[in-house]
């Protein structure tokens, strides 16, 4: 009895400790939100102070930032690029992975190894040649960048789908074929529904990558017409000499807001996506 109450006390202490640590962990975000409501001279002078009547700027930073970066336009492009690319990646790579895992030949084995190899290679290795090639092919619009993402992101997706296919019972597919289903019917009617939870995990990983990606769209897209959120934020610095930190803090807050909403809404999938991605090793 004595032992149990001791343990309870200890657990309460841990809860208290972690509440404090978590509050500290959130300080960077709190500082960002606070500063987004301050006039910009006060941001460098007293970055940790709570806005007072002197320093309070209302929504001015947000207004200015949205004007300078055309933030909501950038958000639209980010959304279109991410949704389209991830949809196309999931559809194409799952088909590709099914073929590779069901047909065992020298050719599919070579293709599979190439996909695995591409996961490891850093972007800087192909940065220059890829952007020149994409430009030459005219893939400089939010639609054009989709095949670029498919090509460069295929490695991880194919690899993970192939891992799941191994565990997938082949007998169901065979019986569907014996019943006279053609391969496309088998894939969309039998295989894809089984793979749905795995597709969600892979989709989450790809969303996290493409939504936050800076360098690839920066080098590929026609920047006069199209900017994604990370590019728009980085552009606050270019051209204006010194950075308007008020507008910057406001735009960072706007950029993080949808991520927090997305995270709280799909936390369960995100965590299982991380777990699935970690097994790849």
């Amino acid at each position: 009895m004595k032992n149990r109450s001791f343990k309870k006390q200890k657990n309460n202490a841990l809860t208290l400790l972690f509440t404090a640590v978590c509050a500290l962990y959130m300080v960077p975000l709190a500082v960002m939100v606070l500063n987004s409501f301050k006039k910009k001279v006060f941001i460098s002078r007293q970055p940790f102070a709570i806005p007072n009547p002197d320093s309070f700027a209302g929504w001015a930073n947000y207004q200015k930032g949205v004007e300078l970066t055309r933030f909501f336009e950038a958000m639209g492009y980010s959304l279109v690029i991410t949704v389209l690319s991830v949809t196309v990646i999931l559809l194409c790579t799952s088909m590709c992975a099914w073929y590779i895992s069901r047909i065992r030949s020298g050719a599919t084995r070579v293709v599979y190894s190439l996909f695995v190899f591409s996961m490891v290679v850093p972007f800087q290795m192909v940065m220059f040649t890829l952007s020149k090639l994409a430009n030459a092919l005219g893939l400089i619009t939010p639609l054009g960048i989709v095949p670029v993402y498919l090509g460069f992101g295929a490695g991880l997706a194919v690899f993970m789908f192939c891992g799941y296919m191994k565990a997938c019972p082949i007998a169901i597919e065979e019986s569907a074929m014996i019943d006279g289903c053609r391969p496309l019917r088998v894939f969309f009617g039998v295989v894809l529904p089984i793979l749905r939870p795995n597709a969600i995990s892979i989709g989450i990983l790809e969303v996290m990558w493409i939504w936050n990606d800076y360098l690839l769209p920066y080098l590929v897209l026609d920047l006069k017409r199209f900017k994604t959120i990370p590019i728009a934020i980085q552009y606050l610095k270019g051209g204006y000499g010194s950075v308007d930190m008020g507008a910057m803090m406001a735009m960072l807050t706007l950029a993080i807001l949808p991520i927090v909403v997305f995270y709280l809404g799909s936390q369960r999938y995100i965590v299982s996506g991380i777990m699935a991605g970690a097994v790849k090793g």
Binding site: N11, N12, L14, F18, T19, V21, C22, Y25, V27, P28, I43, P47, C92, T93, M95, C96, Y99, I100, R102, V111, S118, V120, V121, P122, F123, Q124, M125, V126, F128, T129, L130, L133, A134, P147, V148, Y149, L150, G151, F152, G155, E174, P183, L184, F187, M208, W211, N212, Y214, L215, P230, Q234, M248, M249, L252, A255, I256, M275, A278, V279, G281
Partner: protein, 282 residues
């Protein structure tokens, strides 16, 4: 079964394979070849042999060699710190006191924020702190170094925590019971049972944080942009600025990229071997 599907390769394979060739295989092969050439665009390349590699390695004080060891040191330190923090959080947060799932949510959250956003966010924070001592992040390269380390620690510890937690949860209960029956203390259980059983997670996390450290770009660009005088540049940023910041250095930039790629691939192969050795032991 195979003969039913085999003829369908244009439908199943080509939609992925053609973009893959365009976005990876061809640029990769061209990149390898161009690292041995003199060029300003892809079409005017002239073969020159290993000149670019020599040029890359004999760059001045804040050049490739500096970025190489600066990045190596950064990747190593960040790997150690991120994993220590991640593992500590995991060990504490599997103990089932009130609020653990909320705490996990909080620690993981920074992971979803992109590198550019993170870099600017921390620039204000760290400059605000350093200003009290009359310094800034770019006073010398070590402020940038430690700043970047703080950013990565904040961002990635939660990710590793998630992986370690699932590793800890997969340790069979019987093993823990047997240990406590035999009178093992807390430390003994940790060193003799939990850590050995966690080795697969440790391998994965070490590999992830090591390659993340080596490939880091966005945070570096937004936090210090390599200042002062390119001295806080990590490899990826150094390669980027060699390509796009200096005329006539494209060849050297591509040569650097090949070296960079070789290092990352070598780390991956090492990790693969370590994983296999463990599998044999079990």
């Amino acid at each position: 079964m195979e003969r039913y599907i085999k003829g369908y390769w244009p439908i199943f394979l080509l939609p992925t394979l053609i973009p893959f060739l365009m976005a990876f295989v061809v640029p990769f092969a061209m990149g390898l070849y161009l690292s041995l050439c003199d060029f300003t665009t892809v079409s005017n390349a002239v073969f020159v042999g290993f000149g670019n590699y020599i040029k890359a390695f004999s760059e001045g004080a804040a050049g490739f060699v500096h970025a190489l060891w600066f990045t190596g040191l950064f990747a190593l330190l960040s790997t150690v710190l991120i994993n220590l923090l991640g593992l500590t959080l995991a060990l504490l947060l599997v103990r089932g006191f009130r609020g653990t799932s909320l705490f996990r949510t909080v620690f993981f959250m920074p992971n979803l924020i992109g590198g550019i956003v993170l870099g600017w966010l921390w620039q204000v924070l760290l400059n605000g702190l350093l200003a009290k001592a009359g310094l800034t992040l770019v006073s010398n390269e070590w402020y940038g170094f430690w700043g970047l380390l703080a950013v990565m620690l904040w961002q990635q510890a939660g990710y590793m925590m998630i992986i370690y937690i699932s590793g800890l949860q997969s340790i069979p209960d019987e093993l823990m019971e047997a240990a406590s029956m035999d009178g093992a203390g807390r430390w003994q259980t940790l060193i003799r049972i939990k850590l050995p059983m966690l080795m697969p997670s440790v391998t994965i996390c070490t590999f992830l944080s090591l390659t993340n450290g080596f490939k880091l770009f966005d945070q570096n660009l937004a936090l210090t942009n390599g200042m002062p005088g390119n001295r806080s540049q990590l490899l990826a940023l150094n390669i980027y600025q060699t390509f796009y910041g200096r005329i006539g250095w494209e060849g050297a930039g591509q040569a650097k990229a090949v070296v960079f790629c070789a290092i990352v691939v070598a780390i991956a192969l090492l990790q693969l071997r370590l994983t296999h050795e463990r599998e044999v032991q079990q």
